[in-house]
């Protein structure tokens, strides 16, 4: 499947920095930043105030008024939705296939996991975060349990998959964008705000050991560490 953009640009090299619209707390913009860093692409991060998301000029970039979104001056493209952005970055700039498989069944297997991340991991982790961080005063135990159980289920699906394949990553034998798309939401589980409680890291390691090691492997990557450090700086205002 020849990619038109790559054909036009001849495996484009990003000369000008890609603008990344982000925010401190939420993991989705950082998901995109991890990929930008992994691919060694130049980028400028602009941290947005929530108040500016649902009005112009930002709404012309993302009609949904959410981050992340990107503007790429090298192609003139504007994109939103972290999953769509990641697919675009890979298809446009990963000419050496360092983070992806571009053919064969693996190409599609990756997409299945990316879609599972954005429809299965992100939304449920996000709901748990909402009920944990913003509604501690209300008695919404059943909501917390609902999303807590879903988080455990998502991790157990990964754990079972790694067990059945005997591999270290979700697809094939290397770390791909499909794996990395899960990494930034895990920050909320293993460090403040610890949306599953402080004991959860131990529970995860004991009950879902293969998924735990998989996450450790990803978190040790330079790009993931750097993005995490940047996020800490943004949140603390330094």
């Amino acid at each position: 499947m020849a990619n038109l953009l790559q054909k036009i640009t001849g495996g484009l090299k990003a000369e000008k920095p890609i603008k990344l619209y982000g925010h401190g707390g939420g993991p989705n913009p950082w998901k995109v930043e991890v990929i930008l860093r992994e691919l060694g692409l130049p980028f400028d991060r602009q941290i947005m105030d929530f108040a500016d998301l649902k009005k112009e000029p930002f709404e012309s970039i993302n009609p949904n008024g959410r981050v992340p979104a990107i503007e790429d001056p090298n192609t003139g493209m504007k994109l939103w939705e972290s999953g769509a952005i990641i697919e675009y970055l890979l298809e446009t700039y990963d000419s050496s296939n360092s983070l992806s498989y571009t053919s064969g069944a693996e190409k599609w297997e990756q997409k299945c996991w990316l879609h599972f991340q954005m429809s299965g991991q992100g939304p449920y982790f996000g709901q748990r975060a909402w009920f944990t961080l913003y509604h501690s005063e209300k008695n919404l135990t059943s909501c917390l349990d609902r999303y807590g159980n879903e988080i455990r289920r998502v991790i157990s699906v990964i754990d079972a998959h790694l067990k059945s394949t005997g591999r270290e990553y979700l697809v094939g034998d290397k770390c791909t964008y499909a794996d990395l798309s899960f990494a930034t939401w895990h920050w909320l589980l293993t460090s403040p705000p610890n949306i599953m409680g402080e004991g959860f890291a131990k529970e995860w390691e004991e009950n879902y050991p293969l998924a735990w090691k998989w996450n450790e492997r990803m978190q040790a990557r330079a790009a993931v560490k750097e993005a995490r450090d940047e996020r800490t700086k943004v949140i603390s205002g330094k």
Binding site: N3, L79, C112, M118, Q127, S142, E150, R152, H161
Partner: protein, 257 residues
């Protein structure tokens, strides 16, 4: 082409399931169907977990270009696969890498990360939850309305009949099953006139109607007219939804012992 493929769809009568049968009908592709029985937790049986490790519908298997079997799960990636492989004339998609292709992908992800999960939560709190939690009902109905507002405004601003490039693509097909089920989540489509017209435009497509009736007859439009039937239907679904939640919770707890 038929001899090069061997598409088998694993599905149920849900907004996510019918996305795929609708696309297959629109593409005019032959396929076999297996219906999964949620009431019997068929989707959690080992043979199906081989096809989708997440234990959810829809999923497909096919004979891949290398002649070997391939499995796909998640409606979004299944749709991307089907158009990449079988929509060579770009009737329901655009050439990869083109501006319209990228825009179509934005909306496809918006559906699968936004509308689907949020409206799904609205369904849960409105129809299936064991106790009535007003806050949950309001939160997710409001978020569904906000997302519908984004779609409605987009259709109004672009004055287009479909979401991208003025033709029906996988971005539209992926939304239809959910938008047509707005009433089930307690959201009134009359509040979104452009989206409502879009829904009617989609429903007028013969292939969409055919695909919506897989694997069981599509009865949601009738159901939404009849409150008593709606309540009965919700009560039946509530049982297996809660049973599934209980099983998942027990499985998690068993790990911790």
């Amino acid at each position: 082409m038929a001899s090069d493929s061997d598409i088998h769809l694993y599905t149920a009568q849900t907004p996510n399931g019918i996305k795929i049968s609708i696309l297959l009908e629109e593409l005019g592709l032959p396929y076999q169907t297996t219906k999964l029985e949620f009431s019997k937790s068929t989707q959690k049986e080992p043979w199906f977990l081989e096809i989708n490790p997440n234990g959810r519908i829809p999923a497909i298997t096919d004979k891949f270009t290398d002649g070997k079997p391939i499995r796909l799960f998640e409606s979004g990636s299944i749709m991307q696969y089907l158009v990449a492989r079988y929509d060579k004339d770009h009737k329901f998609s655009f050439p990869p890498g083109s501006r319209e292709f990228l825009e179509m992908n934005n909306w496809l992800f918006f559906m699968n990360a936004g509308v689907g999960p949020m409206q799904g939560q609205a369904n849960h709190f409105t129809r299936y939850a064991p106790e009535h939690i007003e806050y949950g009902v309001n939160r997710y109905q409001n978020e569904t309305r906000r997302l519908y507002g984004v779609l409605d405004k987009h259709l109004a601003d672009t004055k287009a009949e479909y979401l991208v490039g003025n033709k029906c693509t996988i971005a539209d097909i992926s939304h239809w099953g959910w938008v047509s089920a707005a009433g089930w989540a307690g959201v009134n489509l009359d509040d979104f006139p452009h989206l409502k017209k879009w829904e009617e435009r989609m429903w007028a497509r013969p292939a969409l109607k055919k695909g919506a009736n897989v694997p069981d007859p599509y009865k949601l439009k009738e159901l939404l007219q009849d409150k008593e039937k709606m309540d009965r239907h919700a009560a039946e679904a509530r049982n297996w939804v809660q049973q599934g939640m209980k099983e998942d919770a027990e499985k998690n707890a068993a790990r911790s012992k």
